[in-house]
Symmetry: C2
Subunit: 210 residues, 2 copies
């Protein structure tokens, strides 16, 4: 085992350190965030920082970096309030990764990566047609994180479209057998297999597979 | 495909909705957070909300629920500032899940789940001996999320211990071949396999496997 002290971390080459620190949080969610500005220009960007914030009300968040390639996403959200979160599958993971390229504002990553848009009901922001899990959200809060000028963007879930075949009777939605990928660091994509689901943990009771 | 509108989401049975909404964010990181209060009482709790916040400085965060079973973790962090983030592997994933049980304050989940502590250098908070990736952090900010009374706890990385065998020459730390697990929802644990690592995306350049 190798131990890095704070001093050693600070002395690491910048690119090396970026890679290493990005791997520390574990297996990451990979999601495509779709937006559309007031003029109708669409945007699509991959994020590995989408998190669950609460179920009642249903809230999700993601981290917006200070001056990153994803800034079009945030500008569109500020303009219209709406965005979509779309799952990344093995089938589309390369196109999803390609959305991180610095395209110009007037270019849409949907077109550039040949990922088709889908629209559901009258929801303003575009979904990714090929994503098996599509979530429509309205931005309800933007929380500044002063220490490194990032922001936590919080959306309220307004619409969900999913493949019912993978929805269990208790509300659990199986993702691994739909080919939804995870990630490590900035550039590694992972397929997943279920080891097991376990009962709600209680003191002095053995876990059961469910 | 099935579409849920906001009204339909609101009408779902509470437990069903909790399960479903917890699955929406995608593949989750699973981590054990270790703390110790001023009296020396240790605590260990599983979290599926650990995220990367930045590499320069190296910052990580996690979401603290309003009045959850993990409150001992937050109380200890407020008391001492220090906590550890420890990866969950296939080998220890059942013990990790069991830490979610509501043990009394004077009981340590380390003892109750037979996960051994490890101490590194003079870092105050305990690590999980069997975790192949151990991170020591100092809490530097607690950001309230008023909309649902959760909080984003932010830690600065002060110490990293890892298995060098899985550290690549560019700083990338491979997790899937160390048995590090991901999760779906509240109770499903996943093993992972790498599909590929891809080059930094640029407009008009095809991606390369790296």
């Amino acid at each position: 085992m190798r131990t890095f002290t704070l001093e050693e971390i600070n002395d690491l080459d910048k690119r090396y350190r970026t890679n290493l620190i990005n791997c520390l949080s574990g297996i990451k969610s990979m999601n495509l965030i779709g937006t559309k500005n007031k003029k109708g220009q669409t945007n699509l960007a991959i994020f590995n920082s989408v998190i669950h914030l609460g179920a009642h009300p249903a809230l999700m968040g993601f981290i917006q970096r200070p001056a990153s390639v994803e800034r079009h996403t945030f500008e569109n959200i500020k303009e219209t309030s709406y965005f979509t979160i779309n799952s990344v599958t093995e089938e589309i993971h390369k196109q999803a990764h390609q959305t991180a390229a610095r395209y110009e504002r007037e270019e849409s990553e949907f077109d550039e990566t040949s990922l088709e848009t889908a629209y559901i009901n009258d929801f303003y922001a575009p979904f990714v047609a090929k994503s098996p899990l599509k979530i429509g959200l309205e931005c309800v809060e933007v929380i500044p994180i002063p220490i490194n000028n990032t922001q936590l963007i919080i959306g309220k879930v307004k619409l969900i479209q999913l493949n019912e075949e993978f929805l269990k009777s208790d509300g659990f939605l199986s993702l691994h057998d739909q080919g939804v990928v995870g990630g490590t660091g900035l550039d590694s994509y992972l397929s997943t297999n279920e080891i097991g689901r376990y009962s709600y943990a209680k003191p002095d009771l053995p876990l059961e597979k469910i």
